[in-house]
């Protein structure tokens, strides 16, 4: 499968405000960016200070207090093993956010390098990288991740490797496209004519200009990775119980859906909050980093 044909009707949205005015706007006046930073920042603080935020253990069972509704002692009630739901929700941020943020690193680096080299040098290198992109792109995200986690064995390392195997493709595509445009620019030509080596031109002159798109994409990629971890957890292929994790919490809650609907609902809402925060952060960064061509 090749990349889709370039649309002849590029959906260019007329800018509501002149590009200059947007880019000169101070970052703290950028609503999406601030909202995203507040949400993501708060979540990171919750993850870091999880042990201080609650007096319960996320894993110790108390079968006499199982499946209780919300009360002063347990704000969100308890699960079937009598564990405090709020505590497990808080501790899950440690697992899901950590894996989500780390998982994005390898594909970011690998995809950016391969896409950058393919776009810059073109020729057979470009052909090989783009064919590889097509091949990996043929596997739907979840198929590849689920199969690889199975093949490599359950556990965090397998999740990182599986996500890396699938996700580098998008970075390669994005960065290659950016480099193809950037290398036609006058300043790149000038740098080459000035006698700089290819490596120096790529790293110093093209790199900084194409990276912003990759960073903006990384925000939605983190969301996708967190979805993958949660889905794997739901299917019972992710982080092993009793570790608190949103996906396995939803799977546990689904068993009691007729009597305790909140058990499956609440962890899903937590994922929605994380995604909202990261989406706004991505939108805000996109305003900040490439104000002249926001989609």
């Amino acid at each position: 499968m090749t990349t889709t044909p370039a649309p002849t009707l590029a959906p260019v949205k007329p800018a509501r405000r002149p590009a200059r005015a947007r880019s000169l706007r101070p970052w703290y006046r950028n609503g999406s960016l601030v909202a995203g930073m507040v949400i993501v920042g708060a979540l990171i603080l919750v993850a870091v200070f999880a042990p201080l935020l609650t007096s319960y253990s996320p894993t110790t069972q108390d079968l006499e207090a199982s499946l209780q509704g919300p009360s002063a002692a347990h704000w969100l009630g308890t699960d079937q093993f009598g564990r405090d739901v709020l505590t497990r929700l808080i501790w899950s941020t440690r697992v899901d956010l950590r894996i989500g943020f780390i998982a994005v690193l390898i594909p970011f680096v690998v995809g950016t390098i391969l896409g950058g080299l393919a776009g810059y040098f073109g020729g057979w290198l470009d052909t090989i990288v783009m064919r590889l992109v097509d091949i990996f792109f043929a596997f739907p995200f979840y198929v590849m991740v689920i199969v690889l986690v199975f093949v490599l064995g359950a556990g965090e390392t397998s999740i990182y490797l599986a996500i890396a195997t699938v996700s580098w493709v998008s970075y390669a595509k994005i960065v290659r496209g950016e480099v193809l445009v950037a290398k036609q620019q006058d300043y790149v030509m000038a740098a080459r004519l000035g006698g700089f080596s290819h490596l120096k031109v790529l790293a110093r002159h093209i790199g900084p200009n194409v990276l912003s798109q990759a960073i903006i994409y990384a925000m939605s990629d983190i969301v996708q990775d967190i979805m993958a971890i949660v889905t794997l957890g739901y299917l019972g292929l992710g982080i092993a119980p009793p570790t608190a994790e949103w996906g396995s919490m939803i799977a546990d809650g689904q068993q009691f859906i007729t009597t305790h609907w909140e058990q499956a609902t609440i962890p899903g809402l937590a994922v929605v909050v994380v995604s909202l925060g990261l989406s706004w952060l991505g939108d805000g960064l996109s305003d900040l980093l490439s104000p002249d061509r926001r989609k």
Partner: protein, 320 residues
């Protein structure tokens, strides 16, 4: 008209190396399993006799290249191996599951369009107004919800509480299938729509501002016929390629959703195979799904060309 379809043979030829690469990747998966592939594939059934027989069948004593050659020739004979749990050829398992998954995916696609087209059009007629903000809020939240969780929430609301739809299963007969598959298809549509709406909204806003729409309006065309004939067809073009790319995503999502709703398609087959450590079945499903996505890519390019007379993939190839 026909001359613009000259690109098709070339496009299919282009897909061949990709399909080969897909098969190499799926082949290599068995070598990522720890230990001797035959032992790992057989799992609990790994008696010395079984291991010896499978090793011979896979050519494990030969170099990797010969093993791949064997894998491919088995593939062309329709031999994807033997399922360990079902004691059946993997090919027949896959083929009995494909119609179910395909129905679900197409159903989801239809629902996605039924939801997206009016919403995108509605939002595009008043950019920045309340209705536009509401639609955009949906696209933001819709993408942030885990798919399987949306499914569980729909089960909770429409199956457990209101008892309008069944909690799962596939039913008997076509109308029954449509009834049973409604919630799973809606689940997939809810997470597919944001992508379609975003693209369609942006292109509709652009088309609405163009001169030919002004001309059509001045000729007295308005309302639904203006939208259908003049706006939608032009605005839909960029969206077609986006839908094509995301169809693979839809297939991937449907695998997880089948598990949530206990639908006997490819997804349930694969996930049950994973719990049973039935590697040949897993391999078969992965291969089939990936080849399906490659074919969808070709179909997308054809539809795209048919929709937009200005696209000429045959000529762009020639110019290069």
């Amino acid at each position: 008209m026909l001359h613009r379809l000259r690109f098709i043979p070339g496009r299919i030829l282009q897909a061949i190396p990709v399909a080969l690469g897909v098969s190499i990747l799926v082949f290599l998966m068995s070598h990522l399993l720890p230990g001797n592939p035959a032992v790992a594939i057989l799992g609990n059934h790994a008696t010395p006799a079984n291991v010896a027989a499978l090793s011979k069948h896979l050519g494990l004593d030969k170099p990797l290249w010969d093993q791949y050659w064997l894998f491919i020739s088995h593939l062309f004979q329709g031999d994807l191996g033997q399922s360990l749990t079902y004691q059946q050829p993997v090919v027949s398992l896959v083929f009995s599951a494909v119609p179910v998954t395909l129905t679900l995916v197409l159903y989801a696609l239809v629902l996605s369009l039924v939801i997206s087209v009016p919403l995108a059009g509605w939002a595009a007629t008043g950019p920045g107004r309340a209705r536009d903000l509401a639609v955009r809020a949906y696209t933001l939240i819709g993408q942030g919800m885990p798919q399987f969780w949306v499914g569980i929430m729909l089960i909770l609301l429409l199956a457990v509480r209101l008892q309008i739809f069944p909690v799962g299963g596939y039913g008997q007969g076509f109308t029954d299938h449509l009834y049973y598959l409604f919630l799973p298809a809606l689940t997939l549509a809810i997470s597919m729509c944001p992508t379609i709406i975003r693209s369609l909204r942006a292109s509709t806003i652009q088309v609405l501002g163009s001169e030919y729409i002004g001309t059509a309006r001045s000729k007295g065309i308005a309302g639904a016929s203006l939208f259908r004939v003049h706006v939608l067809r032009n605005a839909a073009i960029p969206t077609v390629s986006i839908v094509g790319v995301n169809l693979g995503y839809l297939v991937g999502g449907s695998l997880v959703i089948e598990h949530v709703f206990a639908i006997p398609g490819l997804g349930s087959l694969m996930i049950n195979a994973i719990f049973a450590r039935d590697f040949p079945t897993i391999q078969g499903v992965a291969l089939f799904v990936a080849l399906f996505v490659v074919i969808v890519g070709i179909v997308t390019d054809i539809v795209y060309t048919l929709l937009d007379p200005r696209v000429d993939l045959a000529n762009t190839e020639a110019v290069r």
